[in-house]
Each structure stands twice: as C-alpha cells, then as structure tokens.
Assembly symmetry: C2
Homo-oligomer: 347 residues x 2
C-alpha cells in the first residue's frame, strides 16, 4: 500500500481558529435576544415576521448552524437511537438495519451503531453505549438480553426494543420460529424426503442466539406430525457460520445412510451446506435437497430455497416501536407473520 503524505492545500480552516457562530453571535448580529433566535430556530409562531426575517438573515450571513450537542444537553434528548447487534457475523442484521435506518431517518432520528461480535464488546455496549444521554432509545437486534441487563436498562429509564429475539419485559418484534421450522420441514416432507437433516447453532452459543433451537423444535414437530421418526444422528449443531455448517454437513453427508435433504437454520448456514455438497460432488437437489431460512439477498442468485421472513420490515417495525416508546407509549409486542417458503432451485 502506497502512502503519500501530502501538504495540505490551502490549509484546513480549523487551524485558522475561526470559531463557529453561536446563537449569541446571531442574536448580536440581528440585534435581538438569544431567546428570539431560539424561537425562530424552533419555529415558535409568536415571533413577529419582521424579527423572524432579521434573524433568518443573520443566520444566513453567519452561516450559523445550531449545535446539536448543546441542544441535546438542554433538551435532555439526543434525537438519536442506538442499535446494538452483531452486524457483521449475521448478514440478516444488515437487512434489518435497513428498515431501521429508513424509519429513523423518516422521523429525524440519527443512528448510532454498536457492533457486538465478542462477549467483551457486548459488555461494552451496555456499559458505555447504552446511556440515556447518548441515545434516546436502544434497539437490540438478534441478541438476547439477560434479566439483569434488562433491569439495568429499565433502571436507567432507557427505552429498549428488541428485534428477532424477545424478552417478557421488553417490547419486541419477532417471528414464529417454530412455525418457520415446521414450514421448512413440511416442504421437504411434501417432496417425499424422510431422511431430513438439520444443521443449526449449538444451543449454548456465546451470544445465546435462540432462533435456531426454535426452528429445530418446528422441525421436530413437523416430523412428528408426519409420523417420521426423528433421527438424532441427522442433527448437527455448531458455531454459527458458513464454515462450521459446511464442516458439519460434510460429516453428515459422509455417513452410510445419508440424508436426502438438509434444513439449515439460516441462509448463511445453508450456503455452507451447499458448499459441502459441492465438495462431495453431490448434486443439488437431486442427491441432496437444501432449504435455508431468512431469505437474505444472496439466496436468490444462489437459487436457494428458503423460508422467507420479513427482515427489513422487522427493523422498520422495531424502530417504530422504539420511537413510540420514546414518545411514552406502552410496551408493545409484534409478531410478524409473513413467513413463507420461497421455492428455488435447491429443492
């Protein structure tokens, strides 16, 4: 990598020491009081239009823009919401964030991100980030909250909403993961499969992701209803991620009586399953059919059959709940129910 240290052309203005204009500068310039300027700024109608114009002019001339920090301090709110999530290990989170961003922006709220990929970061998130004065509310995505974390948050009076995972004392938006697992399994059953493997997260994963286990319950329920005996040797669980899923699936597909179908608890894992099949020269779906969960963006071009859940909408709805809670609304729980199998080329 080539690094060029440059002379700064013209020199940065900040070293010129020209202090940014404040509300007092505007007041002086316009020959009014700061109170009046503040009123104009906040569109409080009492101001005479003549004054208003004078102030507006001064603002323009000075290039004044109010300090949001000062405003936050005075108002006691930051006009921003915080989002805590494992953004980079879990692609679906990004899609949910999309919905959050859209709604937050729409309501004039800024977005602070706090990525959580390790247990330390997780602790940091709640220690340093979840401060009522930094953000007006917190959106926690795909991360379970411990009881005492919830308590601490409530003690701080910080509005919180969870997305993808619920908690009895916290507003949240979730889907019926059990039902989703059933749908996936029924899809395979309907295609005549009976040896259907499951690849998902281990229940004691470091972040306590729970949806995988819920989906596995749905898988069991569907098998039971169909009278297909569960086969423990067909269930593989490990660390969340493509690589791990791939490794688990290779093992699964190498055993004597190998499964003819695999239900992966997430699309990310389904991709690993696909890679495993390819590595073993197995055709999909002829030799082994695959279904995932989520319908992330990559699913379509891959031709991956999957259970679609409304990711973006979950973020949007979560943001709406949070905004409502910030505004003082009572706790609300939303269960999104647009789950459906999207059939593509892997089944």
């Amino acid at each position: 990598m080539a690094v060029r240290l440059g002379h700064v052309e013209g020199g940065p203005a900040r070293s010129e020491g020209r202090r940014a204009a404040t509300i007092r500068d505007v007041a002086r310039h316009a020959g009014v009081s700061v109170a009046t300027v503040s009123r104009v700024l906040n569109d409080i109608p009492v101001v005479r239009s003549e004054m208003r114009d004078r102030v507006r002019e001064a603002i323009a001339e000075l290039g004044y823009r109010p300090s949001s920090t000062a405003r936050s301090l005075s108002l006691g709110r930051s006009q921003a919401i915080g989002v805590v999530a494992p953004f980079f290990t879990t692609p679906s989170v990004v899609e949910r964030l999309r919905g959050v961003s859209q709604r937050a922006g729409h309501h004039g709220y800024g977005l602070m991100l706090f990525d959580v990929e390790t247990p330390e970061q997780r602790a940091g998130a709640f220690r340093d980030f979840a401060r009522l004065d930094r953000v007006d509310g917190l959106l926690v995505i795909s991360l379970p909250l411990l009881d005492d974390e919830v308590e601490a948050l409530q003690r701080d009076g910080l509005p919180v909403v969870m997305v993808d995972i619920g908690h009895p004392r916290v507003p949240h938006v979730v889907i019926d993961d059990v039902r989703g697992g059933e749908l996936a399994t029924e899809h395979m059953l309907a295609r005549g499969h009976t040896r259907i493997a499951f690849v998902g997260d281990r229940p004691d994963n470091p972040f306590g992701f729970t949806s995988s286990e819920q989906r596995r319950r749905g898988y069991h329920a569907a098998l039971r209803k169909a009278g297909v005996p569960a086969a423990p040797e067909l269930e593989a669980r490990g660390r969340h991620g493509r690589e791990e899923a791939r490794a688990l699936t290779v093992a699964l597909l190498r055993c004597d009586d190998r499964p003819t179908a695999v239900f992966a608890a997430s699309d990310t894992q389904a991709v690993g399953v696909l890679e495993a099949a390819r590595a073993l020269d197995l055709r999909v779906p002829e030799d082994v059919a695959v279904i995932g969960f989520d319908d992330i963006e990559i699913a379509e071009p891959l031709g991956l059959t999957t259970v679609r859940q409304p990711l973006r909408q979950s973020g949007a709805r979560g943001a709406d709940l949070l905004l409502a809670e910030i505004a003082g609304a009572a706790m609300q729980v939303t269960e999104l129910d647009a789950l459906a199998v999207v059939e593509r080329r892997t089944t």
Copy 2:
C-alpha cells in the same frame, strides 16, 4: 402481523421520575467538590488516593455514569465519527464499514451512520449531519464530493476522509481502478477470449460513482495492449444494480456475434450477468465466462471469479486516517495495492 399491546410489567423506571445521578450528586455524596469528582473521572493523578477512593465509592453507590453529551459540550468534541455512504445499495460498503467499526471501536470512538440512497438524503447528510459538534470527523464512502461541499466542510473545520473515491483536497484511500480493470480483462484475454463485453455503471449516474468508468478505462487499455480492437457494441452501461446488469447482459448475449466473456464492473453487477446467462440457458464458463470486481462475500459461494480489492482494509485505513486527522495530522492519501484476480468457477 399480530400486535399485542401489553401492560408494562412493573412499570418502567423512567416514569418513576428518578433522575439519573449527576456529577453533583456524586460530589455531595462523597463530600467533595465536583472538580475533584471530575479529576477522578478523568484519571488526573493529582487527587489524593483517599479522596479518590471516596469518590469511587460514591460513584458505585449511586450507579453514576457521566453524561457524554455534557462532556461533549464542554470538551468541544463528541468522541464519535460519522459515516456517510450508500449502505444498502452497495454491499461492498458494508464490508468497508466493518473495517471502520473495528478501528473506531478500538480507539473509543462511536459510530454514527448516515445512509444515502437518494439525492435528497445526500443533501440532508451534509446539511444536518456533517456538524462538527455531532461528530468529530466524517468518513465518506463510495460517494464523490463536490468542490463546494468540500469547501463547506473545510470551512466548518470538520475533518473528512473519503474511501473508494478521492478528491484532490481531501485525504482518501483508494485503489487503482484502472489497473483493476486491466487485470480483469487480461484474465479473460489470457484465456483466449477476444469478444469481451463490459457491463458497468453509466457515467452520469445520480451519485457520480466513478470507479466503474475507471475500470472501463483499464479494460480498454488491456484490449489495446493485446491488439484486440474495442467493440462499442460490447459495452453496456446502466444504473448500478443487479437487475439492470441482468437486463443489459440479456441484450448483449442475444446479439448475433455475442461475447464469450463478460467483465462486470462490480460483483453486484456480475451476479446480474450470471442470472442473464442462466435465463438464456447459457453455460458458465463454457458459453460465457464472467468476472466481477470487489470480491464481496457472496462471490465465493457463487464461485464467481473476481478482482479482489481489500474492502475491509480500506475502511480500517480510512478510519485511521480520519482519526489521525482529528488528532491534527496532515492530509494523507493511501492507495491500497492488493488487487488480484481470484479465480473461481466462472472463468
């Protein structure tokens, strides 16, 4: 979607009106002055250890945590950096963000996101978001800056760093897109292709993305060097995105003397190319070879051959530059040079 309005179990603490502890409360509780508490908070060594302990105790007992807003106002810095980018239309941005997040977190900086998907949002970003008091610096990813925007930013004294696109007066981190385009084209040439199509962004796209055109220049350069005449009918440019690329490619592949290879200016577009080939029942790479650009996450499972650029590293480096600039360093320009063709199954 089922919505449950819940009673709030126990009632949220915020309505109890228990005001959060302030530095004054701590001072009173510990029987010292606020100045002393502040010193303890900031690890200023002059404080007698006895005092220090008393203060620490008070802090613990009251569950006090300092207000970062007040701190920002007093200090004149927010300890946060802002990131402006088209996060959701451009998957590579997310990967870059990963690098940013990692470095920012490492240095104790928060991250504010401002998504820009429309020209209005773009304007809003610079009007409302790029305030020195909201963020200590701005990272602009994959978005070109206009001269007067740069000027405004510099006038405000807001440190800015650009990633993926440069500007003569702004520190930035870029790659050699022309070289990348050459690499991709040479790869095809080396495999005996001479009818190599190009699918990229139109030069007058709404955000002024420029890398596509640079890569096209590299494509031309490579053809020229190889003595292969350029064929204008093999160049298709349109709105950035998979769908558009797909449509363009379908047209390309339907013409009489169709190309045997396609170079897509981004992986996103390459995916569209792949879909087009599939739609026309053309085998890849036998009937048509495909190479993309970026090496985003989806490329590997798709088996897409592509020109890899160090996305995450670009974000990390950009964050480092910004942090350095915030600390007062001179303008720096970094050209990342780890470009390489990653050969997979589409060539």
